[in-house]
Subunit: 555 residues, 2 copies
């Protein structure tokens, strides 16, 4: 059918780092059968989303078109690819496919949200494939900072697509399958229409380093440390966790895992067989009885998260264990931009205790899980695709990646969230746009990022909050004076009288002078009271607060 | 007098980067005559200090002891050293000494706060000195990222102290005096008791690079850019501003300064004679008539500040000028930790416009203004002090600097804000501690960081705010139902009814059942209403909001 087309539509992850969600479709315009690749989350921050628990892509478009959705594929188990599956599966209702390790994590997420675990189907690596409407999809092993990452080989009626997911080119990844250039060349040999490719590290100019390079350095450091050693990394980086544990074991130390995620990830690795020969671990209780020089703690919280094990140790005791002068704390991780303050807070707390902190300043104890610029070029050389569609990155990453691809003579385009591309021909074409955005999990409620709720919180945080309370009798006459409560504002301003008193006097004066028409009109009255409260505050304390006016009428 | 002692007391800057303020004293215990070195600010952030305009050190101790204060010295004109002078001078009332460029900036700050400009006295560089009680103080020229930085040579009855201020060892600084190792060796030749030394870059392992190294690279970049070039750096880095302007001039471009601070700093440089031969500049109005390939904009906002020129250009037009596809925007600056998100926001906005952004990723277009680890060692070798007191840095910096100094065989100690050291002998001794902290400028009011005001704002931002309003008649009987207003909370929760309705029903039900004793007791009533509002919210929306209860009694 010549009217059929192949479309690509990112709903999350294109124009940002985090919350990946990519739709592919094939069929007649507006009736394409769809698959979703990844359904991730991103994390809230105080500046833009205070009080928010988790951020999802706005999945409205896909939910509206759920009757066209054939399947969901998850490339790997990082939160920004898998994190929203439990929260949205019941609204999408399609079968979910993933490799064993990823499935293990996905099932836990489904269970946590009261969803059926058997919606998750475990599939083996390429050459095994699954069929979803017009698509045939296989998981091609690729290295990344979590076990069993799979790039997707998506066969469509108009050609083969490779969707990389997050990846690096690591031929010695410590845990899991090595990147296999020959396998990749073979899979690509009959022609690849489009390489849809991770862009996060396009600005890193040197080729990436293998996971295997950090082991010897960590081993030296641990062996040279006289007292207790604690180390943190992303718990999902099972290879790193294993490297750290083995370095401890070789130095004659007992290994103790601290933090729920750390135990969960090692468990998932053991359950699925991706992790073998992991050193024996001791419980925190048993660790208390072991001489400090014979102990190594592997802890969560590499990003300074306040509730994680690292932050708790930095504040004092955690699970009965404390760090002391002369101990060593290793960040086998990089600090994600935006998390610096939290990480430095912990480092300074350890510094106050006399703990020697080793971070990634030297570059010896951590390597990235993503493909750097030369690796992206190498990937294009191996796959030799007609088009390169940059995904997973901020606009600057996508644009740079597109420029890089065009410089290599390949068709490319910047397509951010909501941009629908037609990939049927040899050039990507923009054929539509879909409303996208962010959905916030706030407590137990999903709210839209643009609903104004979080905007009001930010305003209260910046400006403080004044509550004005006025009671009117049956004849619309003020009953007593205006009553003011403050939240988040100075008690005393420029006149040296309590701010509450000044505002109440100004508001009461207004009430005394206000005409019957104003007093009878709720919105007029509120508008005036708000204006006076804001202006009097500005005079007194130099800022205009948020104001809530409550007018009560006895009638 | 054998009972006299020499003390050192940091009030800000020791245990943090920013808001420097260091006290030295000499005399009998508790009656030491004092000098203050620097009086800086630090900047608020949404995470810890939302809505705050500026942060000062808590100067209470010094204000209480102002009768003992002989003088204030300002090492250089960066905000974290000079920024609070206008806000605190009237409470301290001592003469202020600074070099010409710093004086120029200090006078503007005094004028802005309605303080007398003539409280600022301009002094020349070493060997000129001033006397302040038992101290004789001179400004020894040192290189830094602002003109006329001066290290202080503080002669005391028990020996010479050198207080470095912020510095680097730059023998080709482009603007201002080069670091002169021979002069420094000469000043140190009769013995230096204590080197009180900048610690910010102690973790930078390579020797620092000279300001002169960036010029050729910037020149190449500007010459190779076909269209408009805009560049940002710290406005106070007058040498860099000059380098940028000259690169533009050599490429045949007219230079346009944008942003108040950029114009102010160039003006101060010209007024004080530290800046000579600055290329002629055009106004933004005139710039509009110049072909884009012949124009270079020097703009404020290297840290992504939302109101600065760079952010305004990224959002669209500024002073009638816009950037377009094919233009170049250069960050000749590094991003201070914590500012990444703001900077990346701008870069992504430019990316969307098709503007090519060049940042410090390559390391070619920016050098630091601080002494790196090898430079700190070199400084110790030149000055050969008995003690090294690390200052200006977080705890981790101070500790590392102290370890470095001890490894070089010098007495050292970590002394954070509020720690009083006795430097009379050959070893620093802790002899007391003083309460320190932060003072917030909030609008026009100074508030304490621990007053609870900002804590309440943070809580409203995280949890939202519920206002409960109840009216009781003369017999303490509820008049009508409870009234609820929400701010920053979802409208609908798990029961699918409006949250306001659910809360009002629950609160009204409570009022109906409450006994006369509870209804008559304001605090008991409020406590119950708050608890119910929080618990019902938790059931409905999964979070417990802040609650303000207003009980009005008709009596």
């Amino acid at each position: 059918m010549s009217s059929d087309r192949l479309i690509y539509l990112p709903l999350g992850g294109a124009g940002e780092i985090g919350m990946n969600a990519y739709v592919y479709g094939y069929g007649p315009k507006g009736k394409e059968r769809l698959i979703l690749v990844d359904i991730g989350v991103t994390f809230a921050d105080m500046e833009t989303s205070p009080g928010v628990d988790l951020i999802f892509p706005d999945m409205s478009w896909l939910i509206q078109n759920k009757d066209r959705l054939e399947a969901i594929y998850i490339t790997h188990g990082h939160e920004d690819h898998i994190g929203a599956i439990g929260q949205f599966w019941d609204k999408l209702g399609a079968p979910v496919y993933a490799r064993a390790f990823t499935s293990n994590l996905a099932r836990h997420k489904m269970r946590d949200q009261g969803q059926p675990e058997d919606a998750i189907t475990t599939v083996s690596a390429w050459p095994e494939t699954t069929t979803a409407g017009p698509f045939t999809v296989g998981f091609l092993p690729i290295s990344h900072s979590i076990p069993e990452s799979g790039s997707l080989v998506i066969d469509t009626p108009v050609g083969r697509i490779i969707h990389t997911g997050d990846f690096k080119l690591d031929e010695t990844p410590v845990v899991g399958e090595a990147f296999d250039p020959e396998l990749w060349a073979d899979v690509s040999s009959k022609g690849v229409k489009a390489l849809v490719c991770d862009s996060t590290n396009v600005f890193s100019l040197q080729a990436g380093r293998s996971e295997a390079t950090v082991g010897p350095e960590i081993e030296k450091l641990v062996a040279a440390s006289p007292n207790l050693v604690a180390a943190t990394t992303f718990a999902s980086n099972v290879a790193r966790v294993k490297t750290l544990a083995e370095a401890g074991q070789r130095a004659g130390r007992s290994i103790c895992l601290m933090g729920r995620a750390m135990r969960r990830m090692v468990e998932a690795g053991l359950e699925t067989g991706v992790l073998t020969d992991f050193p024996k671990v001791v419980s925190p209780e048993d660790a208390q009885g072991i001489p400090r020089g014979n102990l190594m703690l592997l802890v969560t919280g590499s990003q300074g998260e306040r509730r994680a094990a690292s932050a708790q140790l930095a504040r004092g005791k955690h699970n009965g264990l404390t760090l002391k002068e002369g101990d060593t704390f290793l960040f086998s991780s990089k600090t994600i931009p935006g998390n610096e303050k939290g990480v430095f807070r912990i480092i300074n707390q350890f510094s106050e205790m006399g703990v020697d902190v080793v971070d990634d300043n030297s570059g010896l104890y951590h390597v990235s899980g993503h493909a750097n610029r030369p690796d992206l070029e190498k990937m294009q050389d191996i796959v030799n695709p007609t088009m390169v569609i940059p995904m997973h990155g901020e606009h600057r990453h996508l644009r740079e990646h597109a420029k890089l691809s065009e410089a290599k003579g390949r068709a490319s385009i910047v397509a951010v969230n909501g941009t629908m591309l037609d990939l049927t021909g040899d050039m990507p074409k923009v054929v539509g746009s879909v409303e996208t955005g962010r959905t916030y999990l706030d407590g137990s409620v999903k709210i839209g990022a643009m609903d104004g709720i979080v905007r009001d919180r930010i305003r209260m945080a910046l400006n403080g909050h004044v509550i004005v309370n006025v009671i009117l009798d049956e004849d619309d006459e003020p009953l007593g004076e205006a009553w003011v409560e403050l939240m988040g504002l100075p008690e005393v301003g420029s006149s040296n009288a309590p701010l509450v008193d000044v505002l109440e006097a100004d508001l009461t004066q207004f009430l005394g002078r206000a005409g019957a028409k104003t007093l009878a009109d709720d919105s007029k009255l509120e508008e005036n009271l708000r204006r006076i409260a804001r202006n009097s505050s500005k005079d007194e304390i130099g800022k205009k607060p948020e104001v809530t006016v409550i007018v009560s009428r006895l009638s």
